[in-house]
Symmetry: C2
Subunit: 145 residues, 2 copies
DNA sequence: TACAGACCCTCTAGTTACTATAGAGTCAAG
DNA sequence: CTTGACTCTATAGTAACTAGAGGGTCTGTA
């Protein structure tokens, strides 16, 4: 079918530069080239790229994508490890949600420190950021990842 | 008081490299130097650094921190803009939480695609990642229970 | 006085997943 | 034969650090 990179980009809603980046990173196999050195892609490339983009839309890292691709290449293997990988990814997402919820609580508490007085010097928010009072809402503080 | 960078790092639970980085970025004023060219910090530096670290623990960017620092330097100004900044930051956090919650739903749905068969080839998770079926859970899809 | 070890210095490169640019080449239509 | 859309490679930039190389400083001990 032999489409050029721009067409592939349109079909997958992916930027041209991103496609070349995936190739450089070994996530997308090198396509054949035209006489004028243009990349020429086929069906397999479209599917492979869509796979990557779906994984990315699920917030997976490229190294997680690489791991899943290795499983794709060995279809007779036990699928337990894939489930473990997805499970762990779900866990990471849950942890991040929890962190952000705590964070939001801290921020709301911080906002309430504004005394209603109208100047920066007496506002309480900056004071709350200078001492620890803005961080006393929750049990443990976990810096972000 | 004149403490060296290692002591400052210990007191603020911040890495030495990070302190030098903040200085380079203009977030922390350049300290005086000893005869041997060592950085020598005082109380003001400790407070300033703690301020930065608290902001960072609230997931603020360094450019948000810079903005807040500018307010610190003009205590007679109206504090509304600070509230706006914090408000916007809270909003960003809320948006991210919502995104991650959707994401988690997608991932859980993906996990349920595993047919129970034990090989990668028939697992359904990789298939779900190749086509779009793992992304169909979203917004207005309410299965009955 | 010599030396070990802890600390400090600057500078550079690496991290993640791209995005954006520069400067050049290719190709089809007018 | 030129214009314009497209492509190529290579490089630098993003955020907020972290790690390392290769050196200097300082203090305590032999």
């Amino acid at each position: 079918m032999n489409i050029k990179i721009g067409e592939l980009a349109r079909r997958t809603e992916c930027q041209v530069g991103t496609i070349r980046y995936y190739e450089k990173e070994g996530l997308l196999p090198e396509p054949t080239r035209s006489g004028g050195n243009y990349r020429l892609y086929g069906e397999a490339h479209i599917e492979r790229l869509q796979f990557i983009r779906h994984c990315r839309s699920l917030d997976m890292t490229l190294s997680e994508v690489r791991a899943l691709q290795r499983y794709q290449d060995t279809p007779d293997q036990d699928c337990d490890e894939i489930k473990v990988l997805v499970d762990e990814h779900i866990h990471q997402v849950e942890v991040r949600i929890e962190e952000l919820s705590q964070l939001k609580q801290h921020l709301v508490a911080l906002l309430s420190k504004c005394s209603g007085v109208r100047t920066v010097g007496s506002c309480g928010i900056l004071q709350g950021l200078s001492d620890c009072t803005c961080l006393l809402v929750s049990t443990d503080d976990s810096p972000t990842s």
